[in-house]
Amino acid sequence: MSKVRVLVGTRKGAFVLTADGKRKDWTVSGPFFAGWEIYHMKGSPVDPNRIYVSQTSGWFGQLIQRSDDGGKTWHQPGLPDEALPAPGPPRALPNRFAYDASAETGKPMTTHQWYDGTQHPWEFKRVWHLEPSLTDPGTVYAGVEDAALFRSTDGGENWRELPGLRGHGTGPKWQPGAGGMGLHTIILDPSNPDRIFIAISAAGAFRTDDGGATWKPINKGLVSNFMPNPTAEVGHCVHHVAMHPSRPGVLFMQKHWDVMRSDDAGDNWREVSGNLPTDFGFAIDVHAHEPETLYVVPIKSDSEHFPLGGALKVYRSRTGGNEWEPLTKGLPQKDCYVNVLRDAMAVDKLDECGIYFGTTGGQVYATADSGESWTPIVRDLPAVLSIEVQTLE
């Protein structure tokens, strides 16, 4: 019988929630890495027992953890647990993220725009998102702050930047959003191993068609009124992008304001906010079996990061955008002032698609009927930063 494993990253540790295919009775394990910020954790689609974790701290910096047994035990890739290390240079540096400015492979370290418009040096702060390869359990991508894309091909033991993104030329125009200048979205095209989509706050969306060597901004059609030129090539605060694997040319975006859609792999975007009561928000995802069914969680505004009127509502479109319906059954409809962050929504692949999202109030809500009704799996975790779901046979 199928099982579901929900990977929850929070401000104070990681949690793993498991249930059988009925998704009624849940087991909660954790906290793992208690007290640390877990920005993201995600399992390999090739080997679901291999789970990568971004563990981070303002005091102690960045760590990468990995499980090879479905989240029962964890280790820093390549490091010995107990034994003395072998003499000589270390084999693995799993938490070293060095921007590549080498003459052979790198791009010069430019500066990026600071909040006040001055230029500021690039500084590594943390890993926001880990995206395991669709074909190789040892390959994983990391989106980091300050924005750049890294890749490991040895299970997270060592990381190399793909410097063509940070160094492609528009870097001096990128600027941090309120949460920092993070590369938060990485989408691997299942139909084309050379095509990757990424998104950065606040730079915009970018695409490579050559495996990460060269990149181009894909922000045509985005309008951001906080910018001097609202339709500029870069500078847009893209909050998240989602894609259905059966239609890799169709992208859905929750921007700072506006829900957007592209039907040509990001070359052109059009707004599909339609009848949403507010089109500010962070999370967006696509139904596992219906590529035109989308979910967003509207948030009141960029100044007030909580649901409109204190009522938590997921909005669903079954028409690929523009026409939206509120889903409220089981969700608090008064006095609710939580936020749902950009990486805190995911779907399972069971026949009746399950959707999951976590809140900054520590609730993880789930639906096992495509959103008709919702139930909290847990109510009192630390603030949820990310949710990923694994559907296991």
Binding site: W36, G58, W59, F60, L63, L79, L93, R96
Partner: protein, 98 residues
């Protein structure tokens, strides 16, 4: 043996108690102690000193014999009481909210 007291999260990371003892060849400087600590406990690499600059991470502080060594040059010899193992090097997380 040089004694080093670690903050809570680094103890958990290294799987040790509050205090560890490591061998450090003379001269016993901050750099030498931290180098030896990271060789013995490689999971601590990058958590005390920044990989890129090699400098103390901003929210950590070093105390020795009741004195703040956070801003001392890393090649200055530590007091004899530390080199002799009578006093530990304290690595402390700055107090900064929840």
């Amino acid at each position: 043996m040089i004694r080093v007291v670690l903050p809570y999260h680094l103890r958990n990371l290294a799987g040790v108690g509050a205090e560890v003892s490591i061998e450090v060849a003379a001269p016993v400087t901050l750099r030498a102690v931290l180098d030896a600590l990271e060789v013995r406990y490689p999971m601590l690499r990058g958590t005390i000193r920044d990989y890129g600059t090699g400098r103390r991470r901003p929210f950590l502080r070093f105390f020795v014999c009741e004195e703040d060594w956070s801003h001392e040059a890393s090649d200055v010899e530590l007091p004899e009481a530390v080199a002799a193992g009578r006093e530990p090097l304290l690595i402390i997380g700055a107090i900064a909210g929840g």
